[in-house]
Symmetry: C2
Subunit: 307 residues, 2 copies
Amino acid sequence: MSMEAKDPEMLIADAAVQESITEEQQQFFLDNGFLVIRNVLRGAELELIQAEMMKLVDQGAAGMAGDPDYSYGTGVKSGGRILKRIEYVIDKSDPMKALLGQPFILRSVEKLQGRNFIPTWDSMVLKMPDEGIIVPWHRDAEVPEGADPAKPIFNVDFYLDDADLRSCLWVIPGSNRWSQEQAALRCKREGFDTSDAIPVPMRAGDVILHDITVVHGSPSGDGNALRRTVYYEFRPGDTEAEFGPHTLEYLSLKQHMLVDCLERRKAAGYAKGETAFEYRPHGAFRLHGVRKPPTYRYAHADYWRQG
Amino acid sequence: MSMEAKDPEMLIADAAVQESITEEQQQFFLDNGFLVIRNVLRGAELELIQAEMMKLVDQGAAGMAGDPDYSYGTGVKSGGRILKRIEYVIDKSDPMKALLGQPFILRSVEKLQGRNFIPTWDSMVLKMPDEGIIVPWHRDAEVPEGADPAKPIFNVDFYLDDADLRSCLWVIPGSNRWSQEQAALRCKREGFDTSDAIPVPMRAGDVILHDITVVHGSPSGDGNALRRTVYYEFRPGDTEAEFGPHTLEYLSLKQHMLVDCLERRKAAGYAKGETAFEYRPHGAFRLHGVRKPPTYRYAHADYWRQG
């Protein structure tokens, strides 16, 4: 793919007809730092998750100021306090637990990161109607020096609403292969310059895989519709074990949580007929037995390596 | 210390008057691969542990053939089936849980391995009266290539009975610094040749720290008294995390078990007046909160990295 904006060669996967991403799509992701997958959430599951997340949005909008999981910004139109992000959505809703077991996604994660992948963050980011707060150009994070570049760290962005040109994500294809300095320089550019970027309009139920190092953002909204996007991040086990940021204890806790969510997915009516994902961590990451998670909210701050 | 047998310069620690091993004793251990510590178990604790372990010996001697934790050999005198080893003694007795929290020992382990040490094996090895089965010259295991040589892997051997020249351990001082080939050659020598070794007679309550790579053994007994020795092994966390043999999951499970045993020790009457050890793992090994161990028997085979 060339770096031209709106290049028609953009590869797009389709979960309605594929079992996981193809090798070609995998290579597209490695080259460009993102990949669109259509139709990951469909029918009953999409409706259920939309309803579940609407409940959280309504609660958050009504005011959950005392709760650290709800964060707020300043709305572009009203200037008021506007809900912008909710953390730990898996803990807050059972269908989000089953979503962690989504087999197309996990088979694709396994292809990209190997068998020892670890689920890390789970959050929902919001653009409230007419109040879409700008997300300036940024990388989510840098990859630790020395980490295996063949195993990217990335987010799975589940779109619960359509995202048109007024609210959608813009990415700079290939910026995942830039140096840290190059990316920092580009992100400093004034305004929301899209000259070297492409928009990624989405339909509800579609997914973007985005490398944490791809430069991306979205413009300030005005006249935008509600856009709810759920982010599940995954990291290769080896990278986490060697470099963190989480402690080793965190890794097996999240692995057991994943195993539990896979069992929950099997029990979901809407997952009937799909081939369940089988998590097969090996070597240092092998798990013994089944441990019912005492919580689905392993707060990051409790498991940093500081101290 | 020279390599002469029965060298009078052997340094010996004394838990009755020290808080932990001194720097000089630490250096002696690094140079020679072993260190004797007198009076670790005393008074009520020694008596209680002797009684507890006697119960296990009696059960094992009566026959626990179906239980994989009890193993048997052929007695040298009777030729009969003789109890020789019992695994997972911490699981089988509460005073053994409190013993894992012994502060002199843990302060010394921390000095030798750093703050992130992990308790691994816990076993009792027996020489039954008059039936002392020979333990041929051996290293317990080799250290993984690439592991930090400044942080030795070692066993803490708690003697519950006196061990005289008929039953005691013999070590070859400094053989922990030999190559694998040199050690293998020495261990092949016929008979129980003690020309380059020293005997380590012990009193009940004394401890030997022995590096897993020091060449050691004990002769066949005849006329020997009962000798019960409990082995607690410790490994530096970094070495375990990088090389195994256990999975990463095992490490935090055993860390939480250690924390629990420290709490149990504080509650023991005989630990009154001693300064409790504070376990302060850091970096990747930091622990969050307190997790009551669901078991005290994390079977090694369940946590190997194979597969």
